[in-house]
């Protein structure tokens, strides 16, 4: 089961893992063999859900590589929520390269997920959201998060820096 949800490849000591589907109690990282990894880039784009045991298994795997440079990429809201809620889900020196922010139109009920990327929509100094977000029909969309909570992990990082 795990092999369908995890895909690992490498370029020398730099590893890339794609995670998909549900990160749950059955998702094991034991088969992901990394030989002297210096850097790991994790793509969370296709993650649909994560449960409490999945959170634990992820943290346990991250703890095995304390000196590895870790980058999270294309994080959906469900992953951003864990980064904010669970200390250790993003390792102390880990970095978020990109993540999705939900936008919503109260009148039409339309939702969009807008990608925020480091150096463009955010950096160590704060966030710079796009000025005008619209759906396909031209309706204006508003950021649908409580900013102090959703972007908390960025604030923590910039304070630590």
């Amino acid at each position: 089961m795990s092999e369908k949800r995890l895909k690992l490849r490498n370029e020398g000591n730099k590893y890339f893992v794609d995670v998909a589907g549900s990160m749950d109690e059955d998702l094991t990282y034991l088969d992901l063999l990394m030989n002297n990894p210096m850097e790991l880039i994790v793509n969370f784009e296709k993650v649909v859900s994560i449960n409490s045991c999945g959170i634990r298994e992820w943290i346990r795997w991250m703890m095995q590589y304390p000196n590895m440079k870790i980058t999270y990429r294309l994080c959906p809201k469900v992953i951003v929520d864990q980064i904010n809620m669970v200390d250790g889900f993003l390792p102390k020196d880990g970095m978020v390269e990109s993540f999705f922010v939900p936008y919503y139109n109260e009148d039409t009920g339309t939702e969009l997920q807008i990608l925020f990327t480091v150096g463009k929509e955010f950096d160590n100094h704060g966030i710079r959201p796009p000025l005008d977000v619209r759906d396909n029909a031209g309706h204006s969309m508003e950021m649908d998060v409580i900013e102090s909570k959703y972007f908390r992990f960025l604030t923590k990082k910039s304070q630590a820096a």
């Binding site: 549900s22 409490s52 943290i59 809201k77 939702e111």
Partner: protein, 288 residues
Amino acid sequence: MKFIKKNSIFFANLQYLKAEFKNIYLIEKGCEPIRSKPDHSILISDQLENCDVINHINLNKFTAILNKKSPYYIRDVIRTSKIMETPDLYFKDPLKLVFEEVPRSFRINFNKKEDKQRIIYESVEFFKQIRSSMALEAIYAVIEELFMNAVYDAPREAQKLNNSMNVKDSELLISHDSELIIISCMDHYGSLNIQKFLNRMQLVNNSGAGESINMDAEKGGAGIGCYILFNHCLDLIIGVNQGKATRFTCIFPFRMGQKNFSSITKSIHFIDLKSEAKYERKKIKTKK
């Protein structure tokens, strides 16, 4: 009591609650310190934050906390009055507590970890027309945690209590109308310790999930599932009939923005069928 129209039901129920039962506390301006009250009281407030809800219910031994500012406050009061009147109904048919006429719903039985994929698949099919990513995220999260509790945690606790392990299948019940989604899960172990559960919720709430997570898989679950459930619900109802059944019911909006959802203080209700000091009725004065 007859349940006819919504608004009249609300007032009738709130007045009924206050007239019939001693244990209704209404806090409207500020959080006053709770002085003396009977156990198993219900707090109705418009002043609490979510972190306060857990602390109040654990430290001050409330049975339920209802949020007066919730857009579903009327439904919450009606539901609470029904539970106080007939606690058994929660275990037999929780949908009747929430819906006047039960909308579309389905039940699925399960008893082993291999059942999860089937449950997820059928649930996703049932909610196919939902376009709300917030609701879908909550559906996945709630089903995951409720499933794990019924398949792993409940039997483990039952074994510790020397309860019978030869029990009927657990049941997942899912329903929705145009406003609310309900996911309810019942196991037949009845091994939940409400106080232990509350203590755990309070620990995670106060210390953070990262600090409280149980990293030792040999000792069971991660211990933060209760917190995840609470975070995804607007209303959380937990009932236990010791040795017979435990039912968790999660209620959340069918369609709502994340920001709106995050700003609503949640309601919570515990039902312990074997509790001695239940909902204490006021004495009725009789003419001689």
